[in-house]
Symmetry: D2
């Protein structure tokens, strides 16, 4: 299963149990419509199984994120703030330490514009801490950049960020990115947080160089939302559903004798995916699947995440401010 592409640790962990979970601690809480899943990868065994580095992966899931319902959005933002604060404290970030936020992705491709949109809504303060509007106190120096994608800049994003970290000298980097999910059911309804940085590969773009503590010298919290499914993955999943449904509708004697059907159902997930990828690669290798309402959903998501960061990172904006009017 590990060859099927997903950026979500939770999707990698699905179906694991017993021995399969060695090195992985997993916990899940339901809170109204929202499910919060925390996965700790505690050692190399876990990292190998999950294909993700050692560290924490928190998933905030709700089918209602993608609805035009500010009551739900506010609730999700509150949860995001708490989880971000936990990561912040776990990493021992000082109250007044500089934080650098990087909005990854292409602002001109809607499902990939989450990062740039979040950057545009942050309360950036690194340059004006001495002249804040009255009543706004307890703010941390925050800097933010949406560096664009390599296709537009000709430069690896990691190169840009490395240069910035050397000059801004933050204690923490927060990277926002649109992700690819395995399942279309997770598109736009899952927010993943991790303290392990952004691993190679991603939603719409083809980013390669990792942003993490090893490459940047400071811890990297990544906030990601799956906004697309890779087209080949999508075909694979719907093929499974299709075959299952065909099988149900097939008379018993046909299914009994159906060597081909047996073959299909016994095909290793991984092999099947390889066949699909090979057969459609020439034309759909760089296609993605996304919902028609992606434009408005990315706007809501960027509001939730930008304000979540504003509140969790600026001590002066506490939890009561969630009930305020923010951008």
């Amino acid at each position: 299963m590990q060859n099927i592409y997903t950026d979500l640790a939770m999707e990698m962990a699905e179906g694991l149990d017993g021995e399969g979970l060695r090195g992985i601690e997993m916990d899940s809480v339901q809170q109204g419509d929202v499910k919060i899943t925390t996965i700790h990868v505690v050692n190399d065994d876990g990292a190998k199984t999950l294909g993700k580095p050692i560290g924490s992966y928190i998933t905030i899931e709700s089918p209602k994120i993608k609805e035009n319902n500010f009551v739900v959005h506010e609730e999700i933002m509150g949860i995001l703030v708490k989880q971000l604060a936990l990561l912040r404290d776990g990493l021992g970030i000082d109250d007044d330490a500089p934080v650098l936020v990087i909005g990854l992705g292409n602002r001109n491709v809607t499902p990939d514009s989450l990062g740039p949109q979040v950057v545009g809504k942050l309360l950036v303060t690194r340059h004006i801490l001495d002249k804040m509007p009255e009543g706004l106190v307890g703010l941390r120096p925050i800097a933010a950049l949406a560096p664009g994608v390599m296709g537009m800049t000709g430069i690896e994003t990691a190169e840009v960020v490395k240069g910035l970290v050397g000059n801004v000298r933050p204690q923490l980097v927060i990277a926002i990115d649109a992700l690819a999910a395995r399942s279309i059911d997770r598109i736009n309804q899952t927010i993943q947080l991790t303290d392990t940085g952004i691993s190679p590969g991603a939603g719409v773009g083809n980013r390669r160089a990792t942003l993490d503590e090893k490459t940047l010298g400071v811890p990297v919290v990544a906030i990601g939302v799956p906004t697309v499914v890779d087209a080949a993955t999508f075909v694979n999943d719907t093929l499974d559903i299709f075959l299952a449904q065909m099988a149900e509708g097939t008379p018993e004697h046909l299914r009994d004798g159906a060597e081909f059907f047996r073959m299909l159902t016994q095909l290793e997930e991984q092999d099947k995916h390889a066949v699909i990828r090979n057969s459609i690669e020439p034309s759909v290798g760089n296609m993605f699947v996304t919902p028609k309402e992606i434009g408005e959903v990315v706007k809501w998501l960027s509001n939730i995440i930008a304000n979540g960061i504003n509140i969790a990172m600026h001590k002066g904006i506490d939890m009561d401010d969630i009930n305020r009017f923010m951008y």
Copy 2:
């Protein structure tokens, strides 16, 4: 096959021959990398077969449209100008008659933003014909609007356009829209022109009310480019490729006994599509497939189409001006 959704007349006509083509005249010219296909639906028989109204459908196709190559783009634009001029003359539009251009689609969703982007690049002149910059003569009054989509405005686009036509009183409406193709191989490499208006249903949006001579009282030339494939259609097509490839790789004795396989391959196209749509409808009903480079390709396409309209509609900008620097 007619139930499979496509906005391209050419895709509907594929595979037809002999009696199947009754009422349909089809002609095709190859010009370097560019293939120009002209379909005339001449009577009700043809209209029924194709599922499209009586009229002309011209398709300009090249795999190079989607490449970052201005030499090719200029060539395509030249062909578009000629075809637009043919439609213009066929409809008997006067040289100085007002033309209203409507850019359909949602400017905030990249593959649906073709129409609004074209409108932004037109040489709009209806309000300034008496004060044109020196050297620009022979211009026609052109008005243009990108009315947005119903999800953003709460108003059927046809309602907006009807009101406009009543006030602007054009002799011709040109409507630009992003379309849905049947085949992912046609995405971003086909421009379709027709003098029959825009029929219901389309690329990313869910437009319902037709814009044509019957509803608006003036002829409607539609220019469309498929920028997406409907997700269910996409699954169907890749499934076909997958099954074909599996079959090739299956030992003879298995295929012989494979009732299930036989069933699959004998399944009517239409039924298979229905099964797919049913099995995945709850989650992917409103999903679409589009390539990762959609952002830049839509920018190029809007340049080609906007300048094609500028040249074909403004008499003062003749074919020599194709070799100029235009926006």
Copy 3:
């Protein structure tokens, strides 16, 4: 003074008293940092004096609107909601009657993009009242359009809106626009509401046809914010300040003999403005003055106004929801 251009009734009324105020009722309330001024033009005398039609003009003023301070923005929004509700009730608009919102201005010129930005943030419902997300009840059918400016469309905005009103059949039109102020001190810190529609002339653009009950057949509430000062007006005002300061700093004996100075100070306001306009017209006739931070301020203002309309117009979103997280 009436020749000096301003869109603000309040600026026209400044300095009037006694007989000068015949036909004009004026009242003003200070509420913390916010000053609310209500002007009722009750008859033709008042209309003539003010150069504005009979009706109500409410001005919400605070130097803090243009600060990055969400606490203040929320407070302003609350006041806007109350004033909008008063106008709504004064006009007798039914709870479930359709409302059409028109965002005037050019989305590509920052200080003129207020209207289009507000439209993008409205809860538009006319097309989906039967399928609202759970928990959102009591919503009114709202439609919205940002028709662009004549320079981009070739069409008078009034022509577009007339067509729309005929099809949408609203009980009320709300028009949002960026305005021109007389004084640079009012830029970005004043919101004007009126039930008399939008009068000719405006901020950045050159709109001519009025949107009001007479032209559209339904009442028009206009919400405007001055985001620019006309360049000629700006010169005039700063010239006054300059002359006053020079005079203060001039030795008594010079001022006594200064015929020229006397002449300058005795110059009728109106004549001085004419001189300025004549002397600089060729080059600055179409220039405007705006602050450097206009980009972010227009974003905040559009949030305040869009949410003010959402709350005042959708019965289901009551005043308690101000303390929620909205867009």
Copy 4:
């Protein structure tokens, strides 16, 4: 005069002659509607007089740049290409050496968005030189970034660029920026090129750290267009015109006795500007003046500059390609 703010060397040199021009070589050519002025600051004397570093300053001026006339735009682009090529050769840049283009300014404030818009239209190639579309040869590795302004990022632009130069290792940096002019007559009709980098201060923003060979370690060619005039400067200039016009209209005997008038006219330029700045500083300190059509003019200017860079920097796109269809 040196205290009056302008980014244009040409405006600083106006009115200088004889001894005043020590250390400054100035030459000017008229070519149809276009005037090309070349200023070489050859030593410290010249640098002191002009308030600009030693190096070359080329100004391409035409009142027609700001007209919607592609014939003129193409002509201007041709001149820009030649001048850029001269600077490139003067600096000894190798044909295949990497070039880094920096688009300064705020993409959300129209007159400051020139740099970001140029970056969006460049043929960026650093990452794809091995997989170019057929027929496009002789391309140089070009990288490009629009880093945003300090108000949005919290980071000095120079900090971002320094980091980039360290990683990208270009032989040349080209910086594009919107400038402030002294005279409103130069807005949008002048393109300034220089090989001395971008000096502190600028159009809309308040940039402070210089981008030049000293700070970055590689030569910096700056391309700037004045899109605004500082509001205080604007008042000063129009005040001069006003006073001159008033004086002309004043009877001889009044002017003779007018001490105040004498005082005004004898006021040192510099002092007058200081008075203006002091008297209006509290309210207009951060105001700027710009024309209403700024939106479309910046679009045209960014097309001209982006294509000028494309042609001058990519050897494979030679002068013949000016007569092609480019973006």
